[in-house]
Symmetry: C2
Subunit: 339 residues, 2 copies
């Protein structure tokens, strides 16, 4: 079914009704106008292209819409900022129908509602592939943004939650159909796919970490090894990572054998976890861990420490050392301009 | 040549060096942080997809980069606002080389410099098609944004500059090669192509119009007839357009016969002019026209008036009336979410 302009607008309007706080001029004019906040604006954008970041057959429109918002919110969170406004540009091929587009905007709305984010504008187009580009504007108290460049020798390296589940979900989605079906009959299989389809942005957790004296922070989109190497480069430091302490997702540990993957390798180098990676003085760790556990039910794990110099060392359970290569989700320059 | 991540980052860094005013955290972190301004933030975005909005063979990388910025700046201008910060997301196929990407960012930098716009972040990816998504954040004095919804019966309908040149350039770019070559040997031919490749955003002109008491304003991206119908719908009014008064671009008039196009039809329904369309009380017109001519060397032309009710009427030089159909660059929902 071909989707006309009027049908699309009607579909979008149906899922996006409602007044949004802080919006002076919303969807439908040349640009949106919003209220000036009390903090510094924080800006990020992410582009999702069919065939590169997702396959139409393996993610629902609703999950895709929610994920496009969440990955941007995660970037805002990583600065210890609060998301406020979203712009969404969409291009769809002729064979995508109105129901798919409505589901997509339904997922966008869900994720926006979850983070009290107002969708204020965007752009819609035809294209040969589905392209979804989201920009989010957030806000942070002046001078309080947390960058990647503040890590100092002696700081502890910490991560929220657990790692590798999304990469396990990706492996599952590419497994032989019979193996994938068997995996999906298990709770761990469904959990891995859910981690890939519906990542969680750690907005509140990031603020707790910022208050606990974190010196540098970023979100894990391309895998711990790759992203930590970026943090080290930005801060001009090196790192030692105790691999036995890396919090590998339990569902991944459980399913690794059936999926034929190395759970620790995926936890180190798999992408799309959207957990927070941070560095902090040792004394801040226990209070921060207690607050995340009590306030959010989210784990905070120390996985190593920042050292002077450059490069990364992996230390295993027996104390053996090896270089930790910054291998990861570096399929190409994703994120190389920041965001 | 395949472009590695490091090569791309190096290429981009080469063209984007320099400190930017107002930027607290720029390219390279999870998100950008900028100084809080004194006005209300104004947000817009546009997505350009190869094969839909441009063909690689018919626009240079430099022009494409500049145009991607300019069309967003034009949306900010249409709100009577000032552009401040840009985010650029790019996806390129493997067969695009580093030189092309550098040229693209060169064009982006030129257009940003022209409007004192800081490029603060973005995202880079692989894809099967070139995709360029730009978001621009601007600023407007609180309560001074001009929307599409303020037109009142009796207001004059005005446009800046002249119309149809970009559509003429598009016709030229699709003409038979021998005809295109002949056209390009003429000054008008080069002027039409230039209008398509390097549109101009009317930022200063928009502020003059805002001070002159304009009641509604938008930029002309999809053709006068289509865009005026949107302004009328947003304002709940109708319009009468005197077609003989529409300022058809001189180069288009000159080349129309050779190109086999109807110049007035392109001026009414061709897209990508990026001139301003505004409505204003009659008494404001002459002072505004004088100020635009003296300050910018840009024409302001009255093409009709706003009437009560709905729908649009075209009145020709003999006074004959006919419905003016909102036909235009409505290839699909481009811009239907605003922006």
């Amino acid at each position: 079914m071909e989707l006309s302009e009027d049908q699309l607008i009607e579909a979008i309007a149906r899922v996006l009704s409602g007044e949004e706080p802080g919006v002076v001029v919303g969807i439908g004019d040349d640009a949106a106008v919003v209220e000036r906040g009390s903090g510094q604006p924080v800006l990020t954008t992410d582009l999702l292209v069919e065939g590169v970041h997702f396959e139409r057959a393996s993610i629902s429109a609703r999950d895709l819409g929610a994920k496009a918002i969440t990955v941007n919110v995660s970037d805002i969170a990583a600065m210890a900022a609060s998301p406020r406004y979203a712009l969404v540009s969409l291009a769809v091929p002729l064979d995508v129908d109105a129901a798919w587009v409505m589901e997509l905007y339904g997922g966008i709305r869900e994720a926006c509602a979850e983070h009290a984010l107002a969708l204020v504008g965007g752009d819609t187009n035809r294209a040969e592939l589905i392209v979804l580009s989201v920009a989010v504007v957030g806000e942070v108290a002046p001078g309080r943004a947390l960058t990647r460049s503040g890590a100092r020798p002696g700081d502890r390296i910490v991560v929220t939650g657990s790692l590798g589940a999304a990469a396990g979900g990706f492996a599952l989605s590419r497994a032989h159909p019979s193996r994938a079906a068997a995996a999906l009959s298990e709770p761990w299989g469904r959990e891995l796919l859910e981690a890939l389809a519906r990542p969680v942005a750690r907005v509140g957790e990031a603020k707790v970490l910022a208050s606990a004296g974190v010196t540098a922070m970023m979100d894990l989109s391309d895998g711990l090894a790759k992203d930590l190497s970026r943090l080290c480069l930005a801060s001009g430091v090196g790192a030692r990572v105790r691999t036995a302490d890396v919090p590998v997702a339990a569902a991944l540990v459980e399913g690794a054998e059936m999926l034929g993957v190395d759970a620790l390798a995926l936890a180190l180098s798999g992408g799309e976890d959207y957990e927070l990676l941070a560095t902090m003085p040792a004394e801040g760790f226990e209070p921060a861990r207690a607050e995340l556990r009590e306030g959010f039910g989210v784990a905070l794990t120390e996985v190593g420490e920042i050292v002077a110099g450059e490069g990364m060392i992996a230390v295993d359970a027996d104390g053996a050392e090896a270089p930790l290569e910054p291998a990861g989700w570096d399929h190409f320059p994703r994120g190389s301009l920041g965001a």
